[in-house]
Symmetry: C2
Subunit: 756 residues, 2 copies
């Protein structure tokens, strides 16, 4: 077991590496050439057009040494923006996300003070370890609950403090839920007119042999919402078209690349090969080749677009139905339309950019089956993920490779390569899996059939939280793989399990302290450096960028990685709650994590991230629930811990806590959750009335006309416009008549009918 | 362990006792004097005015011996009425309730056949018990799974059959859920105009310092449902008034009693004493005394009624809000009104007679607290109910009584009394508790704050189901009290618990067979005899009845005791599922129970019961869920059983079943449950449109005017009218002006305002 000095060394190393990241960040962000990497948000907002040019600033390298001296001044700057302005600037999702770190601080600052004031002295004077002979112990253990003799009266101090901590957590959670619910309501009330306020996502439209889908929808809503129905927008299965558009983008990039090349050295026309990745095949003139390829693809895209728009089979039995008032949309979203609850499903429409288009057309039975399969898959992924990795690892040793590829034998047998393979390959399989994990989980959530990106993110976070809980927390406390834990859990009395886990908790304190420093401190410092986007930007900048506009497109502002970051915070909150009475010395490390993360993420959402959607903090009920789960785990484990220390009575005193926690959860849920899932009619009516008074002549139909068009129809037109601007007008790739035809043809499909 | 012969004897005894009940019933029901006990439903329907008088039938005793010969002909008669007519006659609740027995038959008839065709031969030829030396066994054990040697390949037969049984159960459950959902929808669609179709129950109206509750409600709905709001009915806190009305009824009964007495012997005016129960106090003329008492009470009632109607403090912050169309009511019931989810709560109004008035005014925080307390109380009631009973039992022995009441010593010490106390008292405490249990559970549900009788019934059934499951099923399989089981469950590995329980299941087969015969067969036969209502009716008939109308009031048709009967059926379904592969010989006993119960209850709902409310089979999702719970318990226990028989592999094969069961539940829930809790707008619109076409001049406001008046306001007026008819017109107790004033005064409170 590590002693205080070991921890000190580790802390120094991690602090230094974090500091190195910070210094690197401070230096890099001041270079004008990196401006678009570290301040993309401002470019996207249109506030900053190009790097600030003060007198002393060179075009690529900043030579103003005064600025280097104040290299940490981004920290106060990150805190300076007041919250209302932050919400205005970065959206409610981001503003509330950084509040999760603040929640951690709110819970743990008083807890840390109290724990150090009460529990550390109680533990320090416990004197068990000093008098135990032949036992090696460290200073950290002397500060922990291990220093209290079994069945001691001193445990009452821990019990009382844990009650205090639990009640404090309830209080903070309740206050925060209340605040964020009101923030959300205020945010929604203050929003300007948006298409999703008037629109409902309709799914599982039953097919009618006599009518087209469009007619059928129209008739249904004319009958059942006679005074309120306005129009609807059909959904097309444009997956193949989206693929074509994606492919075209790639070809365009190559064309631009070769054109740039030609421009720089006009003496030699660039050539390329027609085969795979330009490596094989016949040599051709690159610019000509890509131009013709692009032309071909554009034609195919045209045909496909026409096909999608005209082919009735390309229609998905789903639609976006818009109403004349927000009130009517709220009504339709909250009510059941048909007596068969699997058809005519209505839900509040996500905002247009939040929609996950692929999942709009899954019938009920299929959805139920997918959920079943994914639940089973999640179970195996969580508890048995080590099995395939161990299999890969067993393959990836010297003998395995030699068996499969005998011809590689002479190379592998060389000493240097052998040691690399033996030392590196086994670990890399696990590392790759862990890097891919969030994507795997996201793919699983997509299969489950959620229709909006925000819902997908929330669901993925839930899965990742389960994985971290089982494999990081329990996996570290109880040794062995998750599957072995599960077996243990099933084959042991359930009280026994909490006891063994509870008992080994104090011993793992030093491990978790190191974990917090490596994963938390250094990880967050790496986040602010944005190494990958930095490299990517400069690569793009070198090869693809011609104009400032291109440069803006080469920016990758990224966004908050909610499915990964949130479960991590939850792990730290869980650690804090568990160790608050067991080993209070861990708490300051968590405090540093929360404070530092709060700073970094506040800086990032102000200067960098560009959110893909705005859900209005719809994730808060999930955050709340997971903190409650953490609190409950902490309470159960402490009960196990106390009963192992022969303090059965005190353990019994804790029984009320999990029940109380559950009740607090139910209470808060009933009190606030509906603010995140339902849509009060009163608020809708207020906005409707206000709008009617201020804009009596609003043409809502025109406003909503193209709001819910599949992005490939929208993007392509946008792209084409950019294309025209950038390229020579004579380029025949973009027949201008198409653009106009599209915009005239598209609405005809649904609006001419609804006018009828 | 009992052998086949013992079971045969027990079966004979129980069959004979059931037969005795049936014969008694057959004889009693033919006597005209009992006609109102055994056919009250027909009297209430107004189809039967007095006992059938054929030529041979005497006024009190039936002397037509032909009718006695066909004494079992009620059985085919009970089956004759087709289901649609049954629904029309007895309501959907009753018709669906007897379908639960049919569900049992549907599940278990094929299961029984298959089990006897496959499993009984497999078990019989297992040969373990015959070769085991020194083991006593019975024929029943030879037919059970106990006869299969450990780790035998024969277990595969059981596994395959259990899969077949499970899938058959899924299929039947799915089919039945589907059928009953469509029955409910058809039933609701076919219903005539009813007040609850237009009405929403509004609760937790926030208090406004500037406005009365009525004004506040009106303004809110005029703003937020401007085109649809019609009127509302306030709710008064009339608990004290209800008490007065109840007291008055009692006094009236006494008055009638003495008047009857006087009529029969006009020579002597009856006297009574003014003290407690007419046993002490001064002697007075009875008729005069009760007349003046009644007069006094009527005056007090008048004053109280006026006070309730005029005092703003007597208003409860709840109301019944009515809309112009069913569509608007459906919208309001399903949407959230305010951004604060604890005020302006709307839900579909129960039908007027279904309302539980006392619970209409509980604020949110109180409700959450009540639920917490009741959950804890339910836990203790279920697991620790033996503690207070054991305490009472310990008091109720000879020494205990002697200690507390030393003066009773000489009496108690007598041998006869001593043996009675010792043999009888300990048992009676438990018996009284078990009889009171449903009422205790109902009181707990009332405290939880449900607003309708049907919801209370469903909730109580849930509690009773938990109690039966823990204390009857697990209590019989695992010996020891429920609390000991709980400790065992917590201190053993969770797999170990299912193993021990699973292991002891085959041994308990004979016990449960006896239980089915005593509780099931004889209990149902006793149900049809209706001994308590029979006695009560004749007592009332002798002392209180003057006219045929009085006689009708003396009838007590009773109603289906859903909270008690349904959990019992669930116990039998659970037993059938568990023993279907373990001891198939138990299945025929269950079949007899289901078939016999089906007959009896079908007879009862046709001829006897008068339901207090009609919920449209809203209980079916609960029934479905509890069958699923039973199936899951059976699956888990069988896994335990197989793994105890060293058939670990086969046990592992069963793992998929609980997951599948859970999924089937989720699937059915998603598919059908909303038919029981939500209100499709389409159906509402259809009814609205139809009504608009057929009755364009309907005055809905007048129709709804008094629909949701507290029953004390209604009952009293009805009663008064009866009173006037029966009694002399000169009776000054009922000033006729009051009746008229009431009906003119009452609506003014809420309707004049809503006209404004």
């Amino acid at each position: 077991m590590a002693n205080l000095q070991d921890i000190g060394v580790s802390a120094t190393i991690n602090l230094l590496s974090a500091l190195a990241f910070l210094v690197a960040f401070a230096l890099l962000r001041l270079q004008p050439i990196n401006d678009r990497v570290y301040f993309p948000k401002w470019y996207l907002k249109g506030i900053r057009g190009s790097p600030r040019r003060s007198g002393h600033v060179h075009n690529f390298v900043n030579l103003d040494f005064n600025m280097y001296i104040r290299f940490l001044n981004w920290m106060p700057a990150a805190l300076k923006m007041p919250e209302p302005e932050l919400i205005e600037h970065a959206g409610l999702d981001s503003a509330v996300f950084v509040r999760i770190y603040l929640l951690g601080l709110k819970i743990f600052v008083p807890v840390t003070f109290l724990a150090f004031a009460v529990l550390v002295p109680v533990n320090w004077t416990g004197d068990t370890l000093e008098h135990a002979k032949g036992l090696t112990y460290s200073d950290i253990d002397k500060l922990s609950i291990s220093n209290i003799p079994a069945a001691s009266k001193r445990f009452w101090a821990h019990i009382v403090m844990f009650y205090v901590f639990s009640f404090w957590t309830y209080y903070v959670l309740y206050k925060e839920y209340k605040l964020i619910a009101s923030m959300r309501l205020r945010f929604l009330a203050a929003q300007k007119r948006r298409p999703d306020q008037f629109t409902v996502l309709l799914r599982n439209v039953p097919l009618d042999p006599d009518e087209s889908i469009s007619k059928h929808i129209e008739h249904f809503f004319f009958v059942n919402h006679p005074d309120h129905y306005l129009t609807h927008q059909l959904v097309y299965n444009a997956n193949y078209l989206a693929k074509l558009v994606e492919k075209k983008k790639g070809l365009q990039n190559w064309l631009v690349y070769y054109e740039n090349k030609y421009e720089r050295s006009p003496t030699q026309r660039p050539t390329t090969k027609t085969g795979l990745w330009g490596l094989w095949g016949t040599k051709v003139d690159a610019i000509e080749y890509y131009s013709t390829e692009l032309e071909k693809l554009s034609k195919e895209e045209d045909k496909e677009r026409e096909k999608v728009l005209s082919d009735p089979d390309a229609l998905i039995p789903a639609a976006f139905v818009s109403f004349k008032t927000r009130w009517a949309a709220a009504v339709c979203a909250q009510t059941q339309q048909s007596s068969n609850p699997t058809i005519w499903l209505t839900e509040w429409a996500p905002e247009p950019r939040d929609i996950f288009w692929d999942n709009l057309a899954i019938p009920y039975v299929k959805l139920a089956l997918r959920k079943l399969i994914m639940a089973v898959a999640l179970f195996f992924l969580t508890f048995c993920f080590m099995i395939p990795i161990a299999f890969v690892q067993s393959l990836a040793n010297i003998e395995g490779i030699e068996k499969v590829f005998p011809f590689l034998k002479p190379i592998i047998e060389k000493k240097v390569i052998k040691s690399v393979i033996q030392g590196f390959l086994p670990g890399i399989a696990l590392k790759i899996f862990l890097i891919l994990l969030p994507r795997i989980l996201m793919a699983m959530s997509q299969i489950e059939g959620f229709t909006s990106l925000s819902a997908l993110d929330r669901r993925t976070a839930e899965k990742y939280h389960l994985f971290i809980l089982v494999n990081v927390f329990f996996g570290s406390v109880v040794t062995g793989t998750a599957f072995q834990q599960l077996q243990k859990f099933l084959n042991e009395p359930s009280t026994e399990f909490t006891k063994t886990v509870g008992d080994s908790i104090p011993m793992k304190a030093t491990f978790f302290i190191t974990y917090i420093m490596v994963d938390g401190w250094a990880g967050i410092a790496a986040e602010i450096l944005r190494l990958v986007p930095l490299v990517m930007f400069h690569l793009k900048n070198a090869f693809l960028v011609k104009t400032d506009q291109d440069r803006d497109q080469a920016m990758d502002p990224g966004c908050l990685d909610f499915p990964v970051s949130e479960p991590r915070i939850q792990l730290y909150i869980l650690l804090g709650l568990v160790y608050s009475v067991v080993t209070p010395i861990l708490l300051p490390f968590i405090l540093v994590f929360f404070a530092f993360s709060y700073l970094v993420y506040r800086h990032q959402i102000i200067n960098v991230y560009n959110q893909k959607y705005e859900s209005g903090a719809a994730f808060w009920p999930h955050v709340h629930r997971r903190v409650i789960i953490g609190l409950m785990i902490a309470q159960l484990l402490l009960m196990g811990l106390f009963s192992m220390r022969e303090a059965e009575q005190s353990s019994a005193c804790l029984v009320a806590l999990p029940i109380l926690t559950l009740w607090v959860h139910k209470f808060c849920q009933g009190r606030f959750e509906s603010a995140f899932v339902k849509f009060p009619l009163q608020d809708a009516m207020v906005k409707d009335t206000l709008e009617k008074a201020t804009e009596p002549n609003l043409d809502l139909k025109a406003y909503l006309k193209d709001a819910y068009v599949h992005p490939v129809f929208k993007d392509s037109s946008l792209e084409q416009i950019t294309f025209i601007d950038d390229d020579e007008e004579s380029n025949s790739l973009v027949p201008t008549k198409r653009t106009s035809r599209r915009s005239s043809k598209f609405p005809s499909e649904d609006n001419s009918e609804s006018d009828a």
